[in-house]
């Protein structure tokens, strides 16, 4: 049982569990938190799960835990794990079932005050055009052949079919495509699930939200991103749908025998893994990239539907879109990157589970208008609360391997939220506070109640004080669309 006394305080906002805590730990665990967040994290299995992760073979640096941490099902949500290339491990369970779950933000120059009378109509139009909820099918069915092409091309597939602009791709992590995807390593089952679901939000914590930009903290960066105080923006939070879920399910199952073959001892079987340079590790990497590209194309298709919806409600004489992409980020992924670890630049595989890549200024993978600023980071709050746009920093390179938080982080179970909050009443409260809500399921709404989450402002204050991101703008929700 880990307690606060087991931590060594590295700085005001960084707490370390050294490898001496457990004989099987290969690297330490660093938790980015204020005292209250740390105490909350000790209230469930989050830290125990982080200590389990630190026992996997071939890790380097430390396991970094973000302040939006909460208990997951193997790796805690808000976790970053770095393994050595080529003999470190890759773990499908640590990436999770929703491969490349992520967030996209689009900004407009439409003033909220002008748009106010039309927000209800906008919410209804978005709800109609962006399919959401359990088992909902998408509007763009794919043949198996086209699905394979989409898996290889990601957002480029959407560009060729008129669902994207070149600027959208430039303003997407990895330009919307992980090279080296191998659809041939994806099961028929995953493909069957994926081919009908493109352009759907799904259920659970996934959503589409219309926000008003409430406050700007960095005028230069906000201007570069097209964020204007008082104007509308759109957030899209979803991932690779049943396609990614099935790929993870398949590989977590396959790897159960791989760990026996490679003699890997696991503290938790969901952390199942294989050496990166093994046939199993390479097969998963190729399949994971296919799912990542599916998710990029999925959010791109939803962005197209959001633009269509804005056009239907607000129109433009030229037919030009109201919505320009700010950025698109992944928060469940394993990425091949180079990081400075113990003074040396080395190639590594970074697993981020509920954590966002947040590279600092100068990163060549950013479009020219962002390169001197750093990578935009999109941090949605819980439903009905504020969201944040941040920027990556140079300092996070050695602190968190170019990573920061991804959201608010849960503190209350779904069962407890459902018992203490009634979905219909919550909807009334949100509507009364000026937020239009379109949701398929009232119990689903209750599970995602703001009370079930941490205060996102505190999470953002923590990453900002720790130096692993900096504030650009804060968003206030005006319409929420959920399954």
């Amino acid at each position: 049982m880990v307690t606060k006394q087991d931590f060594h305080r590295i700085s005001d906002r960084i707490w370390e569990i050294p490898t001496s805590f457990h004989p099987a730990m290969k690297v330490p665990v660093w938790v980015f938190a204020d005292e209250e967040i740390l105490e909350e994290a000790l209230g469930d299995l989050s830290i125990t799960q982080a200590i389990n992760v630190a026992q996997l073979p071939g890790l380097v640096g430390h396991v970094a835990i973000m302040p939006d941490v909460h208990q997951g099902y193997g790796m805690p949500i808000g976790g970053v794990m770095v393994s050595r290339v080529p003999d470190g491990i890759i773990s499908p369970g640590a990436v999770g079932y929703d491969i490349n779950c992520g967030v996209r933000v689009l900004a407009s120059e439409i003033e909220y005050e002008t748009a106010k009378p039309f927000i209800g109509a906008l919410a209804s139009t978005l709800y109609r055009n962006c399919p959401s909820g359990v088992g909902e099918k998408g509007s763009i069915p794919l043949s198996m052949e086209e699905l394979d092409t989409l898996c290889r091309q990601g957002s480029r597939w959407a560009l060729e079919r008129g669902y994207a602009t070149a600027e959208d791709l430039a303003r997407t992590e990895e330009f919307g495509c992980l090279e080296g995807a191998q659809p041939e390593n994806v099961s028929q089952r995953a493909k069957e699930r994926g081919k009908g679901q493109l352009g759907t939000l799904g259920a659970g914590n996934h959503f589409l939200e219309v926000d008003a930009i409430e406050e700007v903290f960095d005028r230069e960066a906000a201007q570069a991103m097209g964020l204007r105080k008082g104007c509308l923006a759109v957030q899209i939070h979803c991932g690779s749908r049943g396609f990614g879920h099935q790929i993870c399910t398949d590989y977590v199952q396959d790897f159960q025998s791989a760990v026996i073959r490679y003699g890997i001892h696991l503290p938790d079987r969901e952390l199942v893994c294989a050496p990166l340079d093994s046939p199993e590790g390479q097969a998963y990497l190729g399949a994971m990239k296919a799912a990542a590209n599916y998710a990029f194309a999925n959010r791109q298709t939803l962005a197209h539907h959001a633009r269509r919806s804005f056009q239907q409600v607000f129109g433009t004489p030229t037919g030009e879109s109201h919505l320009r992409q700010v950025y698109d980020i992944a928060h469940n992924m394993a990425k091949m990157e180079t990081h400075r670890i113990e003074g040396k630049e080395i190639p590594v595989c970074v697993h981020r589970k509920g954590a966002t890549r947040a590279f600092g200024p100068g990163f060549a993978g950013l479009p020219p208008e962002y390169r001197h600023l750093g990578q935009p980071v999109l941090v949605p709050g819980s439903m009905g609360t504020k969201s944040w746009i941040l920027l990556g920093t140079a300092a996070n390179e050695e602190l968190s391997f170019g990573s920061t938080c991804h959201g608010a982080g849960r503190v209350m179970s779904r069962a407890k939220a459902k018992h203490s909050v009634r979905g219909d009443r919550l909807r009334q409260e949100l509507e009364k506070s000026g937020i239009s809500v379109r949701a398929g399921s009232m119990s689903g709404l209750a599970e995602e109640a703001p009370q079930a989450y941490k205060d996102v402002d505190r999470v953002v204050a923590t990453v900002s004080q720790a130096g692993i991101a900096r504030k650009v703008a804060r968003l206030r929700p005006v319409a929420v669309i959920k399954g």
Partner: protein, 142 residues
């Protein structure tokens, strides 16, 4: 419309989890444990079945041990729902030996399925022997 049993199933209880869903199941035999794991899953998602058309399926799964068969079994049921909209009321475990699971299931299309479950996970999963049989706690990713 016929309702599948939405009363809390026997040998099942929900367990607190911050983000996902967890439940404990117990039974006198491994076969009963597997049947209750399926019923627990169906209960949690609020499944209701249509009266017809009824159909029978045989499910055969391979694994490295009983835990891996339990995870594969639940993921198979999730897949059959998502791909063919099927749920099963009668479940008969024909063979279960640590390497192979063979089951015969009878069911019909679902009329209600309230929750999207991404997968059944291996998180801290172990099938324990107890004085009265077996028990296990499962975590579902939602």
């Amino acid at each position: 419309m016929k309702h599948a049993d939405l009363l809390k199933p026997e040998g099942f209880e929900e367990v607190e989890h911050t983000a996902d869903w967890a439940y404990r199941i117990w039974g006198q035999s491994l076969a009963e444990l597997f049947v209750r794991a399926a019923r627990g899953l169906y209960y949690l998602v609020g499944m209701r079945l249509a009266a017809e058309p009824q159909g029978v399926r045989e499910i055969s799964l391979q694994g490295v041990d009983n835990e891996s068969l339990l995870v594969a079994w639940l993921n198979e049921l999730l897949y059959l729902h998502e791909s063919e909209n099927l749920g099963f009321e009668q479940i008969e475990i024909l063979q279960l030996d640590g390497k192979t699971l063979h089951a015969k299931v009878t069911g019909s299309p679902t009329q209600q399925w309230l929750k999207d479950i991404k997968a059944a996970t291996y998180h801290n999963l172990a099938i324990h022997s107890t004085e009265t049989g077996f028990e296990a706690t499962l975590v579902l990713d939602v």
